[in-house]
């Protein structure tokens, strides 16, 4: 039986047929291909590589990019709904798709030459190549402008030196979109697997996003050919990519919240204490209703955000509001769902602790909760608190 989404305000009635079908298709895919295998990968700390070909077959990678590059050519509501359903599976799986689509294919499409597009986009769409995005450094997280990775002009191209950290898919990647300073200004470069001086060791010891590969990227005199430089200067390059990814995360968080809400609702209705289901107790009902309300509000934020994005009227601050709010309510929902599940909530028989632990990363990456607060604070007061 197909998973029933939370749709308390009949929002899905407002979707176009292809948007509905996209959500249903990805939802069915998650039920059949992700949920049965994800716990074992999470426990083992491995990424389910089998999913790459399957997700590519479905057409998830670079979903909004044109069909001439092997992509689906869908709108941003479809993109959001796909991310939502993937994250109902696992934040790590959604992260893989976010990075491939928004942080690798988007900049290659937007800032790459036609040759670069033709070289990479069809392969990335087909899952024959995996990409990663290198912006964050060990000492520069919320303050990426301070980055110390540098590029120096040479005869045939550029010489890269430096290191990146917390890079999703780094070890798996065939191509890395790397941001480095050239004469003090941030530029983007495509660094390819196997280039001399480039390595990407995996970071171990995570208690979160365990079904996702996180890596360091190390550049020691890496020679990058001139044609691998993207055509964009300054921080607006990487920030424009982050806007795409954060948009997808805003939807993804709804998926994680929906996953824990459904688990909590089912559990509350079947768990008997004091001779009746715990769902009959007022305190439990309040918790469930809180989750339902917050999920519904988060859906409305995303729906309007998506329509604005498609209309070209969305601004990045609005994405900050949705990312900040939706991840925050998702993490709270996971916390509350754990309460409702009682001791059972800590077992991997239920998805609750996995989502809860994952969301700790989601809250921090792609702009921390606090940084998004300050982005919005700066927007409404005109005063930047972090410069």
């Amino acid at each position: 039986m197909a998973f029933q989404p939370v749709d308390y305000y009949n929002l899905y009635d407002m979707l176009e047929p292809e948007e509905k079908l996209t959500r249903e298709t990805v939802s069915d895919f998650v039920d059949a291909e992700v949920l049965p295998i994800i716990e074992q990968h999470y426990r083992a700390g491995t990424f389910p590589m089998d999913l790459v070909e399957k997700l590519a077959g479905l057409g998830v990678f670079g979903i909004t990019l044109p069909q001439e590059y092997g992509c689906a050519g869908m709108n941003n509501i479809c993109y959001g709904l796909a991310m939502q359903e993937l994250e109902r599976g696992d934040s790590g799986v959604r992260s893989f798709a976010s990075v491939q689509s928004s942080l690798v294919m988007y900049p290659i499409y937007t800032y790459g030459s036609e040759d670069i597009r033709r070289k990479w986009l069809p392969k990335l769409a087909a899952g024959q190549a995996i990409g990663c995005f290198g912006l964050t450094e060990p000492d520069y997280g919320s303050n990426p402008t301070g980055m110390i990775t540098t590029a120096v002009k040479t005869d045939g191209g550029y010489l890269l030196n430096g290191a990146k950290m917390w890079i999703t898919n780094g070890t798996l990647a065939d191509v890395a979109v790397v941001w480095a300073k050239l004469d003090g200004i941030v530029h983007g470069f495509l660094v390819e697997k196997g280039m001399k001086g480039f390595s990407a060791p995996e970071m171990k010891g995570k208690h979160s996003l365990r079904a996702s590969i996180t890596s360091e990227l190390i550049f020691q005199d890496v020679e990058v050919p001139a044609e691998n430089m993207l055509n964009i200067k300054g921080m607006r390059g990487p920030l424009s990519c982050l806007t795409q990814a954060r948009y997808g995360i805003s939807w993804g968080a709804i998926g994680a919240a929906t996953g824990v809400y459904h688990s909590a609702l089912d559990y509350a209705k079947s768990r008997i204490q004091f001779g009746k289901p715990i769902a009959s107790f007022q305190l439990v009902q309040e918790k469930l209703v809180w989750m339902l309300s917050e999920i519904t509000k988060a859906q409305l934020l995303c729906y309007q955000l998506g329509r604005m994005k498609d209309a070209g009227t969305m601004n990045p601050n609005q994405v900050s509001l949705a990312k900040r709010n939706n991840v925050d309510i998702a993490i709270q929902a996971a916390r509350i769902a754990r309460d409702i599940h009682g001791a059972n909530g800590i077992l991997d028989e239920y998805p609750v602790m996995r989502h809860a632990a994952n969301l700790e990363s989601v809250r921090t990456y792609e702009g921390t909760h606090d940084i998004h607060t300050l982005i919005l604070g700066a927007d409404i007061t005109g005063i930047q608190a972090f410069s």
Partner: protein, 246 residues
């Protein structure tokens, strides 16, 4: 091979159904509709037959404008052509079969799901075959075709029956026949711009008239017992005397 797959739009299995004020049909307000789950196997089989023997697959449904959604799904899965036979009033199974038979007149094989999960009449496939004067097989869970020879394994009560028939024919299919494919997202977009042919309903007079419709009354009274010896005794007594189950 000219393959016609007949599909139906039904309320989602988890939707809460209510009876309309006239007491003769279900209220469609707030009901989510989906492609009849058994029709997914029919579509998949049609697409696999096309892959093996060439030809084309046409998806046909009888219904109102909202039924276009399932035709879009069929197009996204890969059918060549989609036909909507316009019938806003819900016809009885005979009316549906009449329309489907008209649409499948040139078909080498017409494939239907074993039943529509809304009214569960199980009759449409057999009626369609009868109207076309063609052989038919029901509840098919395995199918092979060699020339015009068709061998179908059908689910029967407690077992399987293997029968032989010949093309052209009508079959209704069962779960287990195949693994329906996911529509690919690029194909969902391509399906958006493909045409859906609309035809008028044959408008045959219904053979069945609905007198009334009502929801089943909940007759189960839940009893929760503890785990003491006395409770277990009570459970045995209730199963024996009230439920008469043992």
């Amino acid at each position: 091979m000219n393959i016609v797959v007949c599909i139906s739009q039904v309320p989602d299995t988890t939707t809460k159904v209510t009876v309309a004020p006239d007491g003769k049909k279900i209220s469609s307000a707030g009901v989510k509709f989906i492609l009849n789950p058994y029709d997914e196997f029919a579509l998949e089989e049609g697409l696999q037959l096309r892959a093996k023997y060439g030809g084309s697959v046409t998806a046909v449904t009888v219904g109102g404008d909202s039924a276009k959604e399932i035709l879009r799904t069929a197009l996204a899965m890969g059918v060549d052509k989609a036909v909507l036979i316009k019938d806003d009033e819900r016809a009885d199974s005979f009316g549906v079969a009449h329309n489907l038979a008209e649409a499948a007149r040139e078909a080498d094989i017409a494939i239907l799901g074993r039943q529509s999960i809304d009214f569960d009449s199980y009759g449409t496939a057999a009626m369609t075959a009868e109207l076309l004067n063609l052989p038919s097989a029901s509840m098919v869970s395995k199918l092979s075709i060699d020339g015009t020879k068709v061998v179908a394994e059908c689910d029967i009560d407690g077992g399987k029956e293997t029968i032989e028939l010949s093309l052209p024919c009508v079959i209704s299919v069962q779960k287990g026949l195949n693994e329906p494919r996911y529509p690919k997202l690029p194909d969902i977009m391509k399906a958006k711009s493909k045409p859906i042919e609309e035809r008028a309903s044959a408008g045959v007079a219904p053979r069945v008239r609905t007198l009334s419709m009502e929801l089943p009354k909940s007759s189960r009274i839940g009893k929760v017992l503890g785990d003491s010896d006395a409770d277990i005794q009570e459970l045995v007594r209730l199963l024996h005397e009230e439920a008469k189950a043992i």
